[in-house]
Symmetry: C2
Subunit: 329 residues, 2 copies
């Protein structure tokens, strides 16, 4: 199921530039760092390219400081690698999500794309898109196995974080038997599940709790409590001292309400856009809702972004779209 060209690229090339999407989450960073580790184990030269330094929250990844934002360093790396370089974009089915890294990667051929999001784009030279997979981390484990490598403890840790992040600790629909089987092997390789959970779930800033309090106060329910909205404003971020990353996971609170079929979390971002997370529990396909607004994702977890309109407008447009999706429209 992994395209042979991809495995061949990993086997034959000597220099790799590995990147992931903007505002990386646990799966993006875990799969990125995990793949870097596998390639290094194969004696490859690897450049882990990121748009911005790794957010504080994710600095617990032992190798996070080695990820590099410098285009000058990248230039030197590629000059040394000559024609023997390949690029890899992880967890990033849409080229726009690479942000400014698009340009840097466009200069390298081939570009390998590995992602588990449902996408409709066709960027990259070799693509492995597996929407049935729980996470890009799970896919990187398969790559590791297909390349005949045994994950080091460091790699196992990275991939375990990736899988736990994107399955909500094995709670989401995407959790398959294979997901758990891989998790078992990673724990067998020495990963401590409690340590991972404590990094991901016991590592909150006070500002996060303050923000959570404000955001819970925005709860709005529609259609007999089947649709739940929460939002965060720039003012709340400023007042609480929290950053965008501190709002991660808040969507789980309205989602956890009995009776709620679809929940939406609207975030006013520093760049004046409104970023939206959508969650469903099977009653409709929220990736279809997201697509209407230029976004995408999976059946039960999707997102989109609005530009130039206010929170209330976004709320109303989404409310209409979700209602109609729930009615099978």
């Amino acid at each position: 199921m992994i395209p042979e060209e991809i495995l061949q690229t990993f086997r034959e090339k000597t220099h790799f530039v590995v990147a992931t999407h903007m505002h990386p989450d646990g799966d993006a960073l875990g799969s990125l760092l995990g793949l870097i580790e596998i390639l290094k184990q194969m004696d490859k030269k690897v450049f882990g390219l990121v748009e911005e330094p790794v957010p504080d929250f994710y600095r617990f990844f032992p190798q996070s400081a080695q990820l590099n934002t410098s285009r000058a360093d990248l230039h030197d790396f590629l000059r040394a690698g000559g024609s023997d370089a390949a690029a890899v974009a992880l967890d990033c089915g849409e080229i726009e999500r690479l942000g400014s890294l698009q340009v840097a990667l466009a200069a390298i051929k081939p570009l390998v794309v590995i992602d588990h999001h449902q996408t409709h784009q066709n960027y990259g030279d070799y693509r492995w898109i597996e929407p049935a997979s729980s996470s890009t981390g799970e896919m990187i484990y398969e790559v590791c196995e297909a390349l005949g490598q045994t994950p080091t403890l460091r790699c196992a840790f990275d991939l375990y974080v990736a899988i736990v992040s994107d399955t909500g600790s094995f709670r989401y629909e995407c959790t398959g038997a294979r997901t758990l089987e891989i998790a078992a092997r990673l724990v067998g390789a020495g990963v401590n599940p409690q340590e991972v959970a404590s990094h991901l779930y016991d590592n909150y800033k006070v500002a996060r709790l303050k923000l959570m309090e404000m955001v819970l106060g925005t709860l709005r329910l529609h259609e007999e409590n089947s649709i739940a909205f929460i939002h965060v404003t720039r003012e709340m971020f400023a007042k609480s001292g929290a950053l965008a990353e501190d709002a991660e996971g808040f969507i789980d609170y309205p989602r956890a309400l009995a009776g709620v079929k679809v929940s939406a979390f609207l975030k006013e971002m520093p760049d004046d856009t409104i970023s939206v997370s959508l969650r469903a529990k099977g009653a409709c396909d929220v990736s279809e809702v997201a697509k209407r607004f230029g976004g995408g994702g999976h059946r039960n977890a999707a997102g989109c972004r609005f530009n130039g309109i206010g929170l209330e407008d976004v709320h109303n447009r989404l409310h209409r779209a979700i209602s109609s999706a729930l009615q099978g429209g």
Copy 2:
């Protein structure tokens, strides 16, 4: 590792009375129902004995209604079974936790005890105690395999709920590679992890979120954020429409703060007492703090209760006691 006498008992006896502890949780009920299913698959007659009807929250177990509280029915069952009956006590290392079922089980020989709690008792005829196991559910899976049975979907569901309940969805220290391997097989047998998570975790009332918002607003931090207090008043319960049970788990929010070593949750109860939950992360023994005020518990999770004094007083007394415990006093 499973004592041979236990497997032999399961193979040879024809009638089984299976029971678990008072106030059963997900692991108690899941392992109980799972074992019943396995024994029925082996054409055994089984009586699932419980002290009280299954709590509402756990009625999602398909077979929960078949558990029986009737001693008259038990009497008839045992009369039919003659000397070919055996009893099984699950998830219950201390005989006291069987409550009034002690008497009923004492009449049956042999009594098989299967549990994963560290115990200091030796009741029962054949005992399998495995403190390294995540859950009694995990142990019942091992029994199933050792008996050469393949778990039905129903059995797999019961055991999966048991494992998820007792590992906090694979987050606690007890989660081992074998735990995840078994979970993988249960999902392979058809269990839907999202469905299980949704029964256990997506069942919140709106009043709970409202209460959570209010309680988060009470956060107080001391000693450079190493001690965190939250509280709930009777007024907050009234205003939100939430019940005491809806506040369950709130202590996890201050606990999850980076830097917090001890967290305390003070609850004004309907009977005018103040109930306190204490959590630590290893830096001191909160059961010692609780004991000073007539309570008790474990090193990292304890509780106590105050009578006749107000929230502020309780806060101050606990603050002093926790400070001194953190200083090794």
